[in-house]
């Protein structure tokens, strides 16, 4: 089991001077597993994600990503990353933005073009390959950012509130899209969000955190639609989940965990 885990955090602390951003984090994410982080602002969700991404060094504890130290995992492009802002480069076309991680790693032009075409197909933007990012809507830009994160075929996707800036309808469509993509690629996902329904509908497990010091207070089982069906997952399946009583039960569980963390 240990060999197949996408992320392992053991006794991880992170201090920023006086601020105790993370304290005693223990978390293992299995291969292909979808895990959400939820909690009040400032509880260390982004910090946790950034520690995994090797954008921040932990003050204590060990971090393993795909069986390697985070630095090595970053250099080997073991993970793809997407933030709240799509962060596309305006001087590159949509396809060239998707190619960026491959370009940076020196892949030959024909191969990376083929890969970008494949990924734009996957996120449903094949017709926009030659467009400029500013010509796309916010949701489309975020899909480009996801395609870019997937370009080197990572076993792990790190996403920090990727749908935070989208309207509710676009957001739900993007969630279905992400479930399909995660199913098709088999990648594990570590997903930061402020939305309880979003966390529940996407995740195998929802990790609830609380601030000062940032720590994990509870882990709730999510309602991610069955993996077997994921490859041909269509939005109706996700819709069914959203209307099931198990979905509401999970939402209540997460909400209570959040409240408990707040009172503690």
């Amino acid at each position: 089991m240990k060999g197949t885990s996408a992320v392992e955090l053991v006794g991880v602390d992170k201090d920023f001077g006086e601020v105790n951003a993370l304290s005693g984090i223990e978390l293992t994410i299995g291969g292909g597993e979808f895990v959400s982080l939820i909690g009040p602002s400032g509880c260390g969700k982004s910090t946790l994600l950034r520690v995994v991404a090797d954008l921040e060094q932990p003050s204590a504890g060990t971090v393993t990503v795909g069986g390697k130290p985070p630095r090595q995992a970053r250099v080997d492009q073991e993970y793809g990353i997407a933030f709240q802002q799509a962060g596309l480069l305006e001087w590159r076309t949509v396809a060239e933005n998707v190619e960026l991680p491959l370009h940076v790693h020196g892949m030959a032009k024909p191969q990376r073009q083929a890969r970008a075409a494949e990924l734009l197909e996957l996120v449903g933007l094949a017709d926009f390959a030659g467009s400029r990012p500013s010509q796309l809507s916010g949701g489309m830009q975020q899909r480009v950012a996801i395609a870019r994160a997937l370009a080197p075929s990572p076993r792990l996707l790190l996403m920090d509130e990727p749908f935070g800036a989208l309207d509710e309808m676009t957001r739900e469509r993007m969630q279905a899209e992400l479930l399909r993509i995660a199913g098709e690629t088999g990648a594990a996902v570590l997903f930061v969000t402020h939305s309880i329904p979003e966390a529940v509908v996407l995740s195998d497990r929802v990790v609830v955190m609380s601030p000062r010091p940032g720590r994990i207070t509870e882990i709730v089982t999510g309602r991610r639609p069955a993996v077997g069906k994921a490859a041909e997952l269509d939005p109706d399946d996700v819709e069914d989940v959203r209307e099931s009583s198990a979905f509401f039960a999970a939402i209540t569980a997460v909400r209570e965990a959040l409240r408990k963390g707040h009172e503690a």
Partner: protein, 289 residues
């Protein structure tokens, strides 16, 4: 395309307007100028001080020196002078640009260098051009590189580059530092090294800062070259020509203005060339977020 046509039309219109203003000034103000007591408030506007626009243009076609055996027309002399100065200014812009961009790169790479040198770069601009011109010429005269002895035009180019250097160094430094933190982190997450980040992120992102800097630097290089020609006494350029003609301005005022017109056209040609650069780099222009 329509945009460029408009730019050309605007430029021509500006010229015509300037000429019209000149003539109106001559019409409206008294020929002797305006003086209150001993203080002259407005300049003389008679034909000796402000010749008519058409007289200046006509002077271009006439020979430089009336009655000389082999006489060049004025326009040819002005053109030759402007071309000479153009070459020196472009050389100065290239030299100053390369050095400025290199310094900016080193400052970007090593914050310590930025802190240590930026104040001096800024301070260097407070040294007046008139003061350094004789210095450069004096030092240059003592230098011989691989048997090549220093030429006066080299001093002009060095002084011109000194003026072009500053806007480029500052513009490139700002441009290289312009990418958002999130973009830099994306590159770090992709394990891109300093060179790759420079090439694929910092340089493209710096274009909106560098193009205006080059525009400023080009103008400064032209002015620097003209002033340097005058203060080092270098022959062959438009600056020297203006001084030569000005010495006989009382007898032949329109010839001086013809040479000044040449300097103005030189500046416009350089500005137009920089404009082409802007057009070529269009795709990088909207990248400031």
């Amino acid at each position: 395309m329509r945009n460029r046509t408009r730019t050309v039309v605007t430029a021509v219109a500006a010229f015509v307007l300037l000429g019209a203003l000149w003539e109106i000034t001559k019409l409206v103000l008294p020929a002797a100028g305006v003086t209150v007591g001993d203080i002259r408030l407005l300049p003389r506007t008679d034909d000796a001080a402000m010749p008519h626009v058409w007289t200046v243009l006509a002077r271009l076609a006439e020979p430089e020196v009336a009655g000389a055996a082999v006489a060049r027309p004025v326009w040819l002399a002005v053109l030759a002078g402007a071309a000479f100065t153009l070459v020196l200014a472009v050389g100065g812009l290239a030299l100053g640009g390369v050095l400025g961009a290199l310094l900016a790169l080193v400052m970007q790479r090593f914050a310590l260098v930025e802190r240590a040198t930026l104040p001096y770069v800024v301070a260097s601009q407070t040294v007046p051009l008139i003061a350094i011109a004789p210095l450069v010429a004096g030092w240059g005269g003592k230098i011989a590189i691989f048997g090549w002895s220093w030429q006066p035009w080299a001093s002009v180019m060095v002084i011109s580059s000194y003026l072009a250097f500053f806007p480029i160094a500052v513009g490139v430094l700002r441009g290289l530092g312009s990418p958002a933190r999130a973009d830099l982190e994306l590159f770090r997450a992709m394990a891109a090294g300093w060179w790759t980040t420079l090439l694929r992120l910092r340089m493209p992102a710096s274009v909106p800062y560098v193009v205006p800097a080059v525009r400023l630097a080009a103008a400064a290089a032209v002015v620097g070259a003209i002033v340097a020609e005058i203060s080092t006494g270098t022959r062959g350029g438009i600056g020297r020509l203006i001084i030569e003609y000005a010495q006989s301005a009382t007898a032949d005022p329109s010839r001086t203005y013809a040479a000044i017109l040449g300097a103005v056209v030189l500046g416009l040609v350089v500005a137009a060339v920089v404009g082409l650069l802007d057009v070529g780099l269009r795709r990088y222009r909207g990248s400031v977020r």
